[in-house]
Structures are given as structure tokens and as C-alpha cells.
Symmetry: C2
């Protein structure tokens, strides 16, 4: 972690800047990785709040007392929503990590023809697991603000309930390897954008047509086949500033 | 693998299109993942040669005979060389994978102040290991052409022996998070380019100055801290076409 996340319940009652860390995960990091001593100052941020530092005041057997000073806003999110076909569990984790790291404002996992049904039963999709993956990604990229991760199991429901709302104010970008076009030509990096990415094996022609009818422009990353998380990062990189 | 790599020694003697696959790695893939039967056609490519298909003709107990038809050129490489500080072994693998996948033409791992000396002893750097990582990446991204992976242990040697040659014909781009500049402004994606990336903890001021004196322009990915392989992919994505 490049920043330690702190939570409202870490604050010692009656204090607005003293916290007590007593969970294994963070204690282990403070002891084993940062090897903290009294006086050590670490980067810290309050979940969905500000970012700053935490200084070690006392090291107890099962707790560390720290004084926080949180003055900076979290970095702004990119004007980018990722709509991606449900992936195998390990790839879901990688996608969440890379999408949150670069700063997307929302991820929607959708069903479509080539998504294996069993993916929807993965324990990775449980809310505690999602929250934990978010936490790791936020601590890595030094951000505190959680994003919405939404699921829509049926492509038909996505088309009728979610897509029209997305299409209203955003440019729609469809990453689909059929076309030998340089994707960079189409992208207006300043605009609110939605990026669609397909499953392993790609969207079907029907799905591609439906997305295009809604206004999506088809982009290609060229002839090379990139792993989903790399293809996403290569595209999202256009929006970084 | 999205393409099975074949090697000159796979060809049955006297034939220019019949191959015999008898190594565990590819046999396992053909049997377990592709579940091939006679007549099945797979994507295949000859190492450092052309890309096409291989059709299953015979399935023996410990071998599979296939007929190849290799008509297409490998995809062109990007006009991009990656010069990156030596990383921990797992990150080296990820960097090789992502750099080869996007199509860089060369990777140079260099030493600098904040590189841990032990990284240079990693077994990942042995030539068989490097060749294997390349192979996996090429099979994933559907390319056949190996690239040069070079090592220069001392920053001083890099400055005097390698950098001047790189600087001659290329724009030099330094990914370094100190500056709050939008990196996209500087990049001319059509030009032959060299991208410098630092170690965990970054290049020192001295190192940054030396690279800038050689003509490198400093780019930032913004306030977020990305894992090395994602930062690389976000930057390399600019060059994809």
C-alpha cells in the first residue's frame, strides 16, 4: 500500500485526529513493511475523505496509536465509466484493480452471450469481497473515494434499463478488435465517456450492432490481442491527465 | 495462448508444411484447452516468421501431426523502446509480458540508485527464462517476432555507452511523477521513441537531470500511483494504432 486507509471507527472517541490501529492487516503492514517506530510519519487517507499523514505516537502490543493530519482532497476521478462483460473471477479482480487505479468513476459488469454463467456465482462478486478489492486498489493508487460497481446480468436489461441513461450525456466507445482503425482518432478525452469491453471471445454481431445503434463508436487496438486488463489500461491511459 | 508458436525443428524432415508436436506444454494445451480432434484448425505462427493456421491430421499417444499454412506477416512493432530500471523478479515478468504484448521493439533494463542489488541475481534474468517469458507473451498477443532484451547494470555505463545512441534519432520520454503535467501534450506518437521508467521509489534527482540533459521530456501520469506494468501500458497505449 502506498497510503494506509483509515476509517471513521479508527478515531479514538472524543478526538478528531487520534486513531488506534488494531487490525491485523494494517498492523502487519506498519510493523513488517514500514517497520515503524515512534515518530514515523506515513501517508494515510480517510475512506471517502481527505488524504494526508499519520504519525506514530505509541506502539502497544496489539495496537498502534497515531496522530492524523488530513488536509488534501482525493485526486479527481476521470470522466470515464467502464462497462465490461463479466469476466472470470481472477480477471474481475484485475479489472477492478486497474480501473480504480487509473480513476474510473464507475464500473458496470454486464452479461452477454459469451459470458460463462458460472462467473456470476463467483465469491469475488460478494459485496465484502468487492469492498476489499477496492480498498487494496485505493491504497495502492493513493485515493480514498470508493466507486460504484454495478452488475446487470442480462444484456437485454442492460439495453433497456441502463444504456439509454449512459448514452444521454456521454460519448460511447466500443473496444472491439474487428476493425483496423486507430482508436485515438475518435476519442475526445475531455468528454464524459463510457468504454465498452467484451468478454473473452468478444461481443456477438448482435451485441455490437445494438451498442452501435445506441451511438457507440468502434475502436480497435490493432492486430495484437491484449489481456483484458492491459487493453483497458491502454485505452484508459488516453484519459489520464 | 491465442496462437501456438511453432519452431523450425517441429517440421517433419523433407516437408515444408507438416509438423510434429511432441512437447508437454503444447500437447497439454492442444488436448486440455483446445480439446482438438482430427480436422481442428488452430492459429499458429513460426518463431520469428509468418502467422497462419495449423490443422490437426493425426493424434498419436505422445504426438500430434499438423499441417501448417503460414501466409501472414507478424504485426509490426511500435516505434517504441522501453528503458526501465531493474524491478523485482515478478514485476520483470509482468513488464516483459505487457511490453511484448503491446509491441515494443526493445527493452533495456538498467541499474540506478534505488534498484536493490539482489534483483540482478534473479533467475528470471537467465536467457532461457527470458526466452520462455517472451514466448508466452508472443503466443498471447499473436506475434512471432522476438525482441531484444538488454541489460545494463550501471547507470553510468548506460549514460556513456547506450544513451547517446538512443538519443540520436528518437524522442526521449521520461515517466516521472514529480510534475503535474498532462503527458499527452508532449508525445508525438509517429516518432521513434524511447520511454524511461524508474524503479520503485523513482529515479534520483541526479538521474532525472542526466536524462533531461540528454533531451528527455518529463511526463506525468497525474497524482495517482500506478503499478509499473499499468503505468507502462497506459503510456504505451498512446502508440498503439
Amino acid at each position: 500500500m502506498n497510503m494506509m486507509m483509515i476509517f471513521a471507527e479508527d478515531f479514538i472517541s472524543g478526538s478528531d485526529n487520534l486513531i488506534k490501529i488494531c487490525d491485523d492487516r494494517r498492523l502487519t503492514h506498519l510493523h513488517k513493511v514500514l517497520k515503524v517506530k515512534v515518530g514515523k510519519v506515513c501517508q494515510a487517507g480517510l475512506l471517502n475523505g481527505k488524504i494526508g499523514t499519520a504519525e506514530v505516537l505509541e506502539i502497544g502490543e496489539n495496537e498502534i496509536i497515531m496522530r492524523t493530519q488530513l488536509d488534501n482532497e482525493a485526486p479527481p476521478k476521470l470522466p470515464l465509466t467502464l462497462v465490461i462483460a463479466m469476466q472470470r473471477p481472477n480477471t474481475v479482480k484485475k479489472i477492478i484493480h486497474s480501473a480504480i487505479s487509473v480513476g474510473v468513476k464507475k464500473i458496470i459488469f454486464i452479461g452477454c452471450f459469451k459470458v460463462e454463467k458460472s462467473y456470476w456465482d463467483s465469491s469475488v462478486l460478494q459485496s465484502e469481497s468487492l469492498a476489499y478489492e477496492q480498498l487494496l486498489a485505493l491504497e495502492q493508487c493513493v485515493d480514498t473515494c470508493e466507486i460504484e460497481i454495478e452488475f446487470c446480468r442480462y444484456f437485454k436489461d442492460f439495453l433497456s434499463n441502463i444504456l439509454p441513461r449512459l448514452a444521454e450525456n456521454s460519448q460511447l466507445l466500443l473496444a472491439h478488435p474487428d476493425k483496423e482503425e486507430n482508436f485515438s482518432k475518435f476519442i475526445d478525452e475531455e468528454r464524459e465517456s463510457v468504454l465498452f469491453m467484451g468478454p473473452e471471445g468478444g461481443f456477438t454481431d448482435y451485441e455490437v450492432n445494438m451498442l452501435k445503434e445506441a451511438g457507440a463508436k468502434q475502436l480497435s487496438l490493432g492486430r495484437r490481442i491484449l489481456r483484458t486488463e492491459f487493453a483497458f489500461t491502454a485505452l484508459a491511459g488516453r484519459f489520464l491527465r
